[in-house]
């Protein structure tokens, strides 16, 4: 995968995880499946755990182990108040950023160069 895509992915993967958690708490495997379904946003599935740890260290997610009699213990992650604020800020930034980029690349796309 080329470096541009890699950099783009790095820039958005954190907010994308926050967006999933904003809907409901999830555990790692659930997050991986949804990111894959959305468009394989992870370079590899296992990297979700270091990424979740970064979000945790930033105070944007919290975590808890959930134990049941019928399932293995799972570590659930959920978004914090700070995380929601961070996600909202990203959404604003992304809206402006994507509009600007789309405007710039529109002529190129119309010409069929890409």
């Amino acid at each position: 995968m080329d470096s541009t895509t890699t950099q783009l992915r790095r820039g958005v993967i954190g907010p994308c995880i926050l967006a999933l958690l904003a809907e409901s708490p999830r555990y790692g495997l659930e997050i991986v499946k949804e990111l894959d379904a959305a468009g394989q946003l992870l370079s590899s599935q296992g990297t979700v755990y270091p990424l979740l740890n970064r979000l945790y260290e930033a105070g944007w997610v919290s975590s808890r182990w959930q134990v049941s009699d019928t399932e293995r213990p799972r570590r659930y992650y959920e978004i914090t108040t700070q995380g929601r604020a961070e996600l909202a800020a990203f959404c604003d930034d992304w809206s402006r950023f994507s509009e600007a980029v789309n405007e710039l690349i529109a002529p190129t796309r119309r010409r069929g160069a890409v």
């Binding site: 495997l29 599935q45 296992g46 990297t47 755990y49 270091p50 105070g59 700070q82």
Partner: protein
């Protein structure tokens, strides 16, 4: 719960162990446990060798995961709880050491008690009254202001927080905990007590108690030695400042986490 580790998962973990020495404990054990759970869940009990290999391939190599982990460790962005989390992770590691079966009582969603939750013998993890972490705890509580009326400093600190080598009873892994966890336990205990006091006072419209509790928390912020807990820190803006606008939702949520970090269960 006892589980049998599939050969493919065991092999992957062996490869992870070989390349992950640079990840400090207890984070390394924590990450290893998550990897094991993920692979075990993904592969399941009935998958064949080929299917298991495909799952592991999609999961990614241990080198890539370790690289991502260390890359994140070297380029930390604003970590509001970094200084305290170093010890908080140690506390979480202590909880894991006691066995996953103990965790539901510690992490379950809790309705706040109508009274003090910080007592000499609080509900929660096993505590010890010896060791370096206990000495750190004892020293730190002399620096903190008194707890709310009806509360008492727990006798002892959560077990397993002493700096130095430790053995994870779940995995048998030998790790190293850093010093300072006893101090962290003391501060989170204090926070648990006063956040709980503020919420109870608010819920009961006990204005005198509420004003006193908020004043204590603001004094805690003013005296903070780390940016994350200081007046401009994220905890202040996300949890404490909203109380000035009668928004007690964030602090209500934070009580459970603060108490958990102190090894105290609230119901």
């Amino acid at each position: 719960m006892t589980t049998t580790v599939r050969a493919e998962v065991a092999e992957y973990l062996r490869r992870f162990d070989a390349v992950s020495a640079a990840i400090p404990e207890p984070r390394r054990s924590e990450l290893r446990a998550e990897i094991q759970e993920h692979l075990t869940d993904s592969i399941g009990d009935s998958a064949g060798t080929e299917e298991a290999s495909l799952v592991i391939l999609e999961f990614g190599s241990p080198d890539e995961i370790v690289e991502t982990e260390l890359d994140g460790a070297s380029t930390k962005r604003g970590t509001p709880r970094w200084v305290l989390r170093a010890g908080a992770i140690a506390i979480v590691a202590a909880l894991v050491i006691f066995g996953i079966t103990q965790l539901p009582r510690l992490f379950e969603s809790a309705a706040l008690a109508g009274g003090a939750v910080v007592t000499a013998h609080p509900v929660g993890v096993e505590r010890v009254t010896t060791g370096r972490a206990y000495a750190e705890y004892q020293q730190e509580i002399t620096k903190l202001s008194a707890l709310p009326e009806g509360s008492a400093w727990p006798e002892g600190v959560p077990a397993g927080l002493d700096a130095g080598a430790t053995v994870d009873s779940t995995t048998g892994e030998v790790g190293v905990l850093e010093a300072g966890a006893g101090q962290v336990a003391a501060r989170f205990t204090w926070l648990c007590a006063w956040e709980n006091e503020a919420v109870i006072a608010h819920d009961h419209s006990a204005d005198d108690r509420l004003v006193a509790a908020i004043a204590e928390l603001k004094a805690f912020v003013a005296a903070a030695t780390t940016e994350s807990w200081g007046p401009g820190g994220s905890w202040t803006s996300a949890v404490l400042t909203p109380t000035d606008y009668d928004n007690f939702g964030p602090i209500r949520s934070d009580v459970a986490e603060s108490c958990m970090q102190a090894g105290i269960t609230i119901h």
